[in-house]
């Protein structure tokens, strides 16, 4: 944790310094810092996905639901990362587009699950 905080802080300070001299380099530094910090979160995410699979093996949940859950997490993380980089660069319109697309793709992912839910409900009722 200490390493991540130190890297984030150092890159923020360096980027701040470069903002007056050359603005585009501060965006590059922010991008590089984001990538480096993500490589640290990757190891943590490995543990999380392992436990999710373990939980799934204990409880007999259909694997489709777990897969879409993990996919949703991935989509949100990716769109969040790219949205913030675009906002840092000052182009919040592009960030808005990415966000809208991410929300729609998540909705698209969840549609079959909603249908399955409605099917089970209609079976109960009829």
């Amino acid at each position: 944790m200490l390493k991540v905080a130190a890297i984030g802080l150092a890159s923020a300070l360096v980027a701040m310094q470069l903002k007056q001299v050359k603005t585009e380099y501060s965006n590059y530094i922010a991008l590089a810092a984001g990538i480096i910090i993500f490589s640290f979160t990757l190891s943590k995410l490995d543990v999380i996905t392992e436990t999710i699979n373990q939980i799934q093996s204990y409880i007999s949940i259909d694997s489709v639901y777990m897969k879409t859950l993990v996919k949703m997490i991935g989509i949100t993380y990716l769109s969040e990362f790219s949205c913030n980089i675009c906002r840092d660069a000052g182009y919040s319109s592009i960030a808005g587009q990415i966000e809208i697309f991410a929300k729609l793709s998540i909705m698209g992912l969840s549609l079959p699950i909603i249908l399955a839910l409605l099917d089970t409900i209609t079976q109960f009722l009829s």
């Binding site: 310094q17 380099y25 990538i35 490589s39």
Partner: protein
């Protein structure tokens, strides 16, 4: 891979800004532009493989 990437980018940024200032004052505008372009290409050359590695990791991790 670690923090040195950030310091390298910072170094390139400072170097390019100094060189372009010098070139601007000595009257050669287009050279200043070319040096900043070269700095941009160099930084992109370092950062782009990391970006592709990041996106591959995300794709593999979340089976997108």
């Amino acid at each position: 891979m670690d923090i040195d990437l950030i310091f390298r980018i910072a170094a390139v940024g400072i170097l390019v800004s100094v060189v372009s200032q010098v070139l601007k004052h000595s009257g050669r505008e287009e050279l200043a532009f070319l040096t900043s372009l070269a700095g941009l290409v160099l930084v992109l050359f370092w950062v782009v493989p990391f970006i592709s590695e990041l996106f591959d990791a995300i794709k593999k991790m979340f089976s997108l």
